[in-house]
Amino acid sequence: MLDSADITTRVEEILNTHKGMEGSLLPILHAIQAEFGYVPQAALPIIAQDLSLSKAEVHGVMSFYHDFREHPAGKHVLKLCRAESCQSMGADRVAAHAQKALGIEWHETTKDGNVTLEPIFCLGLCACGPAAIVDGKLVGRVDEARIDAIIGGLK
């Protein structure tokens, strides 16, 4: 677990690499999430001060976007596309299968902290759906068997 001094040091380093950038808040939040796996609450006042914003404004931006996490995700993140093209190829059925296999709903993490399941709206793989992205790796034509294989591989 990181202590707040570690967080402060790293956040300040990230802020320094974004000096002079126009509209830098999203790139900063992305960099912080890439570093910690989520955006720690402790980072918000440091960012706010650096950008001359209120902490509420920074929180407002962070919480607006689906990508930014307030808490760390599970060890693995499985995102399944829920959009129309994937639906037309059975995405709802595949998602229900994944939820059952993992024993969790959308946005939840398995009890052992291994897998977080999230919906995603379109990966641009609409001609080879249903689509998924597993720890950043794209997967097309996902069916129930594929889900089982993916989950089985997430150790």
Binding site: G23, L25, H30, F64, H66, D67, S85, I120, C126, G140
Partner: protein
């Protein structure tokens, strides 16, 4: 030995990286000196991963490849079980008019030399010899309209920015391609990134802007990587920078990454996001063309709009305008998706009928069942029944049938689709993605889900209520998210009333 194998996301999602690894391994084991070029996809997604081997006769295609097909690629090619013949002879490619996508799949996306050898930078070179008004006039004369979905004439937008007086101006490329069934922006950025860069530089020359941003959605990791590399290569080569191709004009590009908000595909919301704010929609006026990024005059154009500019200069506005029908000029990259036999990207002049696209080009459904509905234009587009399959593909033609072409994505559904469920999803999606600024969208979408649920339970009195709610959302929302969600909902209700009938549940 030279082999092309796509780095395109769809090819990768179907195993292209594993095929690439196997090719390298097999080549090494056989002592073959292999040059493996990771190119863009030709757009035949059902054939991906599709490798092309360069032979004396031309590029020979093989696909869809599995790992077990790899060893035979080093043997007698004619007898390879996945041999498709010469790439250029494939019927799906031959039937197209590839202008914007001419180089996608053909060249090494990150080779500037390859780009130039295939006509790249010819348009920019011509534009550098023209004045601002001349560049704007060329784009106006081409008839190019915004390919993001709104269909606003690109030349008029550029003219407004060009004539605005300001100390700084910006070119913002909207690469937040969030509509389901669309992937043209992604394929272009992955397969021919320099075309987009060239188009943005020309936009800069036309307007006096010296800074450009490409706002790419985070769901497109490969496109982000390719664009970042391409900008670096273009900058190092002097295509971008203080002196574009040695001229007195400066232009720089920065790649920015979205954060999973669909509404940021709306231009004012995108600008707020780019400024580091919540992606909340802005009221218009002021137009972004006058007060856009950081309140400075800004061109906000879709990837395909900008990427179509170089070919317009290379071949001339008249050449481009010659394609199409009515007020829809030039070509459109159709993105055929969902439950189809042959899905992918198909660039053609405007004017094919929906039926020709679905039945002939796409070859019907993947499941083999009858096609029930086609959603055209993404999650905010209408569902078209077979009765409207004679609608020609054009902006006005689709608007005339209470639909829209949007970004030209088509999702095909077979007869197992439940249109009430699709209508409910449209409302649910709007509720999830609403930026929250205006009431009809923020609250209307939530009430919409509830109202569809009432209909599903057999409450017929909720049908007029849903219609009324859709009218309120349509006329009262600030942007297309709330304003266009009624398209899928009302089209489902209008064209597929049986799915909304009260006896439905009882019958089941």
């Amino acid at each position: 030995m030279k082999i092309y194998l796509p780095l395109d996301s769809a090819a990768v999602a179907l195993g292209a990286d594993e095929i690439a690894e196997s090719l390298m391994f097999q080549a090494k084991a056989r002592g073959v000196n292999l040059t493996l070029v990771r190119n863009g996809s030709h757009g035949m997604v059902w054939l991906e991963p599709m490798a092309e081997i360069v032979t004396d006769a031309g590029r020979m295609a093989f696909g869809p490849l599995t790992l077990s097909d790899v060893p035979a690629l080093f043997g007698d090619l004619a007898s390879h079980p996945k041999a498709l013949g010469k790439t250029e002879d494939l019927p799906w490619l031959k039937a197209q008019t590839r202008l914007t996508f001419a180089r996608v799949g053909v060249i090494d996306p990150l080779s500037l030399d390859d780009y130039k050898a295939h006509g790249g930078l010819a348009g920019l070179t011509l534009a550098l010899g023209m004045d601002k008004a001349g560049i704007v006039a060329e784009v106006t004369n081409s008839g190019l309209r915004g390919r993001g979905g709104a269909g606003f004439p690109t030349g008029i937008k550029w003219k407004t920015v060009s004539e605005a007086v300001a100390d700084r101006k910006y070119i913002v490329c909207n690469a937040d391609e969030g509509d389901s069934a669309t992937f043209a922006d992604r394929m272009l950025m992955e397969g021919d990134p320099f075309t987009l860069i060239e188009g943005m530089i020309i936009a800069g020359l036309a307007t006096g802007a010296t800074k450009g941003f490409v706002y790419i959605r985070s769901e497109y990791p490969i496109a982000i990587e390719v664009m970042q590399k391409a900008v670096k290569i273009a900058t190092d080569a002097g295509v971008l920078g203080a002196s574009v191709l040695g001229s007195a004009n400066a232009f720089n590009i920065e790649i920015r990454v979205g954060a999973g908000a669909y509404v940021c595909g709306e231009e004012t919301s995108l600008l707020n996001s780019l400024e580091g704010k919540r992606g909340v929609v802005r009221a218009k006026p002021p137009l972004p063309a006058l007060q856009g990024f950081m309140a400075k005059p800004t061109v906000v154009n879709n990837v395909i709009s900008l990427a179509s500019v170089p070919v317009i200069f290379e071949k001339g506005a008249a050449f481009y305008k010659d394609f199409g029908l009515g007020r829809s000029r030039g070509t459109i990259p159709l993105q055929i998706a969902g439950n189809v036999k042959h899905g992918g990207l198909f660039e053609i002049a405007f004017g094919l009928t929906l039926g020709e696209i679905v039945d002939k080009i796409a070859g019907g459904s993947a499941s083999g069942r009858p096609v029930k509905a086609v959603q055209v234009g993404g999650p905010l587009g209408a569902y078209f029944p077979r009765a409207l399959f004679d609608t020609p593909f054009g902006y006005e033609e689709f608007a005339g049938k209470d639909g829209l072409i949007g970004h030209a994505g088509l999702t095909v559904f077979d007869d197992s689709a439940d249109m009430l469920k699709q209508a409910r999803f449209a409302m649910e999606f709007c509720a999830i993605e609403s930026c929250g600024k205006c009431t009809p969208c923020r609250i209307g979408a939530v009430r919409g889900v509830e109202t569809v649920d009432r209909i599903a339970k057999g409450d017929a009195s909720a049908i007029p209520l849903l219609t009324d709610l859709c009218n309120t959302m349509k006329s009262g929302s600030l942007c297309a998210l709330g304003g266009f969600t009624p398209y899928p909902v009302m089209s489902a209700l209008t064209h597929f009333p049986d799915d909304f009938a009260p006896m439905k549940e009882a019958a089941e």
